[in-house]
Amino acid sequence: MYARKKKEKKAMSPEKRKRFSTVSDEEVAALYTPADLEGHDFLKEIGFPGVYPYTRGIHPSMYRSRLWTMRQFSGFGSAENTNTRYHYLLSQGQTGLSVAFHFPTLMGYDSDNPRASGEVGMCGVAVDSLRDMEILFRGIPLDSITTSMTINAPSAILLAMYIAVAEQQGVSPRKIGGTIQNDILKEYIAQHSWIFPPEPSMRIITDILAYCSDHVPKWNTISISGYHIREAGSTAVQELAFTIADGIAYVQAGIEAGIPVDKFAPRLSFFFNAHMDFFEEIAKYRAARRMWAIIMRERFRAKDENSWKLRFHTQTAGVTLTAQQPINNVVRVALQGLMAVLGGTQSLHTNSMDESLALPTEQAVTIALRTQQILAEESGVGNSVDPLGGSFLLEKMTNEMETRAMRYIRKIDEMGGMVEAIKRGYPQREIIDASYHYQRLLERGEKRIVGVNCYPSDEEIPIPILKIDKEVERKQIARTREVRRKRNARRVASRIDALKDASLSRVNLMPVILEAVREYVTLGEICDAFRETMGTYTDPAMY
């Protein structure tokens, strides 16, 4: 009854390709009709925003009540450089902060460690000790702004530093709000900023869950991230499946550590990619919400509605930015930002057009922020909740996304959960295969990127590039050495001993770390203490 009549089919022009597929290479049909949704229950599966299973959004009125948070990920050079950029972004209407740390911080090395050579301030801001953190947030009241920190292996240390800065401002930890990424599982899977092996890393995470639920109740303790999984080359389904599977592993670990599920689950949040395929991405966000709600309620027996709601941040896909004709990236980012908003994101980072070349200039960052403001103020897409809900295509894609992702999750469950799957290299291998498959499609011209494998241009319009001053490294090393000289050596030594003792016992590490950072024990020193007691993780070097 819903199929096209034969006569209509005959009248159709021949199609350009044999097969049409999403960027993840999932086949897409020419037309979707109610027949594609047969056997599905609208009220039960799609329903209403703000109502379980939240397919259409976690709030009943979404952006009509509150816009998404515009949160541009930013950090470069010294704490002073980045503090200036934060003040600028806030003056331009940004509504939340998001810290990008340089690689040595992410990997737990101080700037004067030989392993940090050439990297200081390059890919983010250098933070070695509480002193850097004080400068980073100078003039920014931590009781009225929320801050997201992309930090994983050393997340407890950076959270402790943030709490210490708040205390200096006279702000109680109970009042501060923000997020630490703190998602170590996806580090092994995709982003690769790890320090310790999986088991002690999971212990640090459950310590944070327990500590924050008692002392920092407004803090989002884990931002369970698909973003990096996707950037590493996964498909949309893999991004969704591995992220939810990571979430399951954290909830399981929290419960096993003896924390009641409804005490920590409401503070878990998610972080997804906005890639290039419009409907596939929107379907992904909707499927994610529904899956998480069902898993939390039925699998983990959570009672609090806030434990069922999947709140998420979105960042536009860095990998889709081209080095060729970089100004075109503005258009890609605008589309991706639109997908995130149509998918019901709680916060958004829009990439800058020049990030395929270097860290963004102030001008490029401003255009990226303005893109969000145009979406919010001019496009009208936020006027109605889940405006694409009910589209035959989108609902069908949402269902398919969920079915395929659940297939992966069952497989990971059978392996004994995500930690075991990672040890077997399973998600890693799936991602490498997917990324190689996509690359082959690209090379054969079956997938197209404007300016790269079609519509090249000989006339490149040059755009300005941000350069990190070489002085940053020298000055940063000097500052960290001065911090070490000026602190109380005896107290520092005893704090380091306390860290080692605590890590070998079962006490919560957070208070011990907090005491250490207050004495200006550096990030590298704390990580070294834990390296000694917990061991380190090495890349299995698969390809």
């Binding site: 690689f103 040595p104 992410l106 990997m107 090395y109 030989p114 392993r115 940090a116 050579s117 050439g118 990297e119 390059m122 890919c123 580090e187 982003q191 690769h192 900023s193 092996p197 950037e231 590493a232 080359g233 990998v319 081209t322 080095a323 060729q324 395929s356 070349l357 270097a358 860290l359 990672i422 040890k423 077997r424 290299g425 490498i432 990324s435 190689y436 690359q439 090379e443 990127i449 300016g451 790269v452 494998n453 590039i465 990190i468 380190t536 993780y537 090495t538 890349d539 299995p540 070097a541 698969m542 390809y543």
Partner: protein
């Protein structure tokens, strides 16, 4: 899964008569972006090159030691963290110190055009920027890198 030496090798040892070209794909520095390095390792392997992948988070010293030990003909380095101006030349310099200047060093990643002449002057044979077709890199390796007799 964690291993002491993070190198993995592909391809058989010797082709008939002549040894296969042997390339080390290396990730110096702390950045974790290995999508490109892994894709290139696979593409070279599929093109008949013997590939040794170092894994992530290698110091220049670790890469050069492994390259000498594995007797490679070329090293392809990948960096997306901005540390290329320090780490690429460091690898070349250490190779020269070990009298292994014959090993061809090339690289890729997020590298601004302005940095390329400086890197070439310091002995990096070729820099590939984002969007380079795999075929171009494979062709370059076939043309530029000869297996040692």
């Amino acid at each position: 899964m964690a291993r002491a030496t993070a190198t993995k090798r592909s391809g058989a040892g010797k082709a008939k008569g002549r040894r296969k070209v042997r390339v080390m794909v290396g990730k110096p520095g702390l950045d974790g972006h290995d999508r490109g390095a892994k894709i290139i390792a696979r593409a070279l392997r599929d093109a008949g090159v013997e590939v040794i992948y170092t894994g992530l988070h290698q110091t220049p010293e670790m890469i050069v030691n492994a390259a000498v030990q594995e007797d490679v003909d070329a090293i392809g380095l990948s960096i997306l963290s901005g540390a290329h101006n320090y780490l690429f030349p460091k690898v070349v310099e250490l190779l020269k110190k070990r009298k292994m200047g014959r090993i061809v060093v090339f690289g890729g990643g997020i590298i601004p055009d302005d940095d390329i002449p400086g890197l070439r002057k310091k002995g990096v044979d070729r820099i590939f920027t984002p969007g380079t077709p795999l075929a171009e890199i494979v062709e370059y390796v076939h043309r530029r890198v000869r297996p040692r007799a």
